[in-house]
Subunit: 233 residues, 2 copies
Amino acid sequence: MTASARKSFHAIKAEMARRIAERVWAPGALIPGEEVLAVEFDCARATVNRALQELARGGVLVRKRKAGTRVALHPMREARFVIPIVRQEIENKGGIYQFRLLSNQVEKAPQSIAERLGLAKGKAMLHVRSLHLSNSKPYQYEDRWVNLDAVPSIRHETFETISPNEWLVTHSPFSQAEIVFHAALADPEEAAILDVRERDSVFIIERLTYLPQKPITYVRMIHPGSHRMVTQL
Amino acid sequence: MTASARKSFHAIKAEMARRIAERVWAPGALIPGEEVLAVEFDCARATVNRALQELARGGVLVRKRKAGTRVALHPMREARFVIPIVRQEIENKGGIYQFRLLSNQVEKAPQSIAERLGLAKGKAMLHVRSLHLSNSKPYQYEDRWVNLDAVPSIRHETFETISPNEWLVTHSPFSQAEIVFHAALADPEEAAILDVRERDSVFIIERLTYLPQKPITYVRMIHPGSHRMVTQL
DNA sequence: ATCATTATTATGTATATACATATTATGTCA
DNA sequence: TGACATAATATGTATATACATAATAATGAT
């Protein structure tokens, strides 16, 4: 037995992860209790607890009071994608960012949008359409509806120097959100704006942001189909 | 010190989150130190520490030793998508799951695959193609290449009762992975398998899994374009 | 002034202890 | 047997204390 002389929860966590990866602790198996592990690793129970909790949050362990801790049977792992501000995303890739405002006016919310935000149909909302370009090529078409009740001051913003996304991120950050990814075929309008062929494939990100009990905005961000979202896990 | 209820780090975390959301603590601002907060919330510093650490992990706070803790300027938040086992995904949605093996044989890796996995071109790999169905309708076409060196025992698996994904998840779990999402147009083969029109839009998830220094598998999971990946954040 | 050294400080971690809470196992009574 | 109360137990959380570490601020030497 490798009597680990380590006492940091990082090391303990790593050793536990190793045991799981190498199936010393098999999927579904009950692992020793915190007290036992504390003795084995020669540390306090709190230290073991922290390591176990972090592994549990990561999804590789499942913990239940009294029942104990077991290795997750199906490590239903999660991929984490950062949803960056487009400008940063483009600049990080070395592209030159440009922004073009297509329209910016108060309109009556169509059924689909109002429904999605839980507002009354026909409610006056700000409708902003814009295009983000990388190296002068269309990168993302942004179609946004903003609840004026939630962010009244946006009404007078012209978006000549700042994109609606950046404006909102800095004026109403830390909201909650629901995000959807999917693929679709470009409709004629989208195809024209993104400069792709009609009925080419596009990658769509929809984001609904809200504060508790107060919807803020619904955005549809449309990328050419070649756009790739990458993450490690 | 009043006869206060138990001060839990959950409550403290929630209160701090509220302050951030309502801009009592503005973006970029330095917030009070742990000691100060511990006095304010009438709890131990460790309790404040835990709340702060969790918020920091969530990305709304940025902590630096000696420098203190400040509210994140650009809450470049990340969306977390669970990448479930298809069968579970389908069953969770109330569908009846079926699995159809399309092909399962050792082949020489084509250039593109070998490159992606960092292996020599022409290397013998297991190539498994299968289709997952929900309520008898094509749900996901899975095109997988497995590095036989990494999981030699897979060679003799017939996949008649278990899908390659489930086999790998239970026999080689807890690997690392790189995941890519994008949209594309179905090629004739994919369209036929998924029963969509040729040049319809498809949603593609590519996943590359590996253990340190050892690529395991490359999978291309192709969904009809209507497929939606949803998450909250 | 500039650079290197040291002191200071906020966060990071470890520990013993105590009690809380959820859940299972057990026992009791009808 | 079955319903229900009760004990047992593993994890969850809170706390005081102590020391570690990173990064800044202050200090001194050149």
